[in-house]
């Protein structure tokens, strides 16, 4: 979550915030397209996109990353390999 992106929500620039161990938050004026090009409707201005692969609402996040222990950060040196 970058400082300037934080919660600026301006319409001119799209910002994508990579949340540690979680989704990508997208703010701004954007469209999400399905493979055939049709627009996937979004119900809100800021959306969270799944990046753990487990969400049942893909492309949106449904919080499932927490249930499967998804991590985005490198493991600590003493930890198990990811």
């Amino acid at each position: 979550m970058t400082e300037q992106a934080g919660t600026s929500g301006g319409d001119a620039t799209v910002s994508i915030t990579a949340c540690p161990n979680g989704p990508l938050l997208v703010r701004g004026r954007f469209e999400i397209l399905a493979p055939a090009g049709e627009v996937i409707p979004s119900r809100r201005k800021t959306v969270a996109l799944c990046r753990c692969g487990i969400s049942t609402l893909k492309p949106f996040c449904d919080g499932s990353h927490k249930a499967v222990g998804f991590t985005t950060e490198p493991e600590a040196p003493t930890g198990q390999p990811a």
């Binding site: 979550m1 934080g6 949340c19 540690p20 119900r43 800021t46 969270a48 449904d62 919080g63």
Partner: protein, 355 residues
């Protein structure tokens, strides 16, 4: 909403004062309220489960929201009503400070506080109302669940909105972003309280605000009262930020289960949309609440770390007690509603335990 029914001497004395038509009687009614409240606050066994005190506080607080039918709005800022609130709040907050488990405090900052909050909320081992709803609940129990939740959810988001003018910078922007979505982003039909009302109607329930307040036990009122107490006092702005973060962070996964439960019972999207919407919305909100709101607040005001964590842990603690009230009754084959009737129950003991 209508004035809640009496649950003991304090709620009775408050109701008598607020509906008193005779100015000459007011000094006596104020004295009775002050005396009964002082006694009840001194003698209560457990203020979280105190039917009379939580009901009186809920009624007094309602003056700050939608008001009470037949009661002059001027009572909101009446010194005696405010003194009643302050007296109950003092005991209530102390009970929470004494009993809410506190994990080790993180250093102030976005990453540290968000990580601590994710750990705290991920470790929540409270009773699982959501699993029960998904797998076992009967139609009647699903209705009772909605009745319990309606106390807060028909004014969903309002208690946390009090914090907006008390915050600044990154935390304020984050709170406004979350709340705007809670209120439907300008679309009335998408306002979460409206979605909840639609779900209630889908099960044949009355969606009038406060319509079922008399049927829920004290701990459900305490859960709502705690939010208002945190939200309406500037000194507790850390606690209300932490509360919202924990609330959002324990919402997505349970709401999927709730939606599945109502689908299992045969309800269509007009009923389940509220829950399905929260799966998606709160997966967004929890990131903003943990990082920008709670974490951002501690970056701005490092001295608030303890209260942020306290508010989050208090949310988990009280809501787990409220969940236990449902599960305990249901697993015993009983109703989780007080009296099982819409009629106000009178002559309850002031410090009554969960019925």
């Amino acid at each position: 909403m209508k004035l809640p029914g009496d649950r003991g001497p304090v709620s009775s004395a408050l109701g008598a004062l607020l509906t008193n038509p005779e100015p000459a009687a007011e000094p006596d009614l104020i004295r009775i309220l002050r005396d009964t409240a002082a006694r009840a606050i001194r003698d209560t066994d457990d203020i979280l489960l105190d039917e009379d005190l939580q009901s009186a506080l809920y009624a007094a607080y309602e003056l700050r929201y939608g008001g009470l039918t037949g009661v002059d709005d001027a009572w909101e800022w009446n010194a005696d009503v405010l003194a009643l609130c302050a007296a109950i709040e003092s005991r209530f907050e102390q009970a929470l400070r004494d009993r809410v488990p506190m994990p080790p405090l993180p250093a102030p900052g976005v990453d540290t506080v968000a990580a601590a909050l994710f750990e705290l909320t991920g470790a929540d081992t409270g009773p699982s109302v959501s699993r029960y709803l998904a797998k076992k609940a009967t139609d009647e129990q699903a209705r009772e669940f909605l009745i319990h939740r309606s106390v807060y959810q028909l004014k969903e988001a309002d208690p946390h909105s009090w914090a907006i003018p008390r915050l600044r910078g990154r935390a304020k922007a984050a709170l406004v972003e979350i709340q705007a979505d809670e209120y439907g982003g300008g679309r009335l039909a998408h306002m979460h309280s409206e979605l909840f009302a639609r779900t209630m109607r889908g099960l044949g329930l009355d969606d009038t605000p406060g319509g079922y307040v008399d049927m829920v036990p004290a701990i459900v009122l305490a859960s709502s009262n705690m939010m208002t107490m945190f939200g309406t006092q500037r000194r507790l702005r850390g606690a209300i930020a932490g509360h919202l973060a924990a609330f959002e962070m324990t919402s997505s996964l349970p709401n999927r289960q709730y939606g599945n439960g109502f689908r299992r019972l045969g309800y269509d999207q007009s009923v389940t949309f509220y829950f399905d919407e929260h799966v998606e919305a709160d997966a967004v909100h929890e990131q903003i609440a943990a990082r920008d709101l709670a974490g951002g607040l501690t970056e701005d005001e490092p001295g608030l770390v303890e209260d942020v964590v306290f508010g989050a842990s208090a949310c988990l603690f009280v809501d787990s007690l409220a969940g236990a009230a449902l599960l305990t009754a249901w697993t015993a084959g009983e109703s989780a509603l007080r009296g099982g009737t819409l009629e106000p129950t009178v002559a309850l003991e002031p410090a009554g335990a969960l019925s």
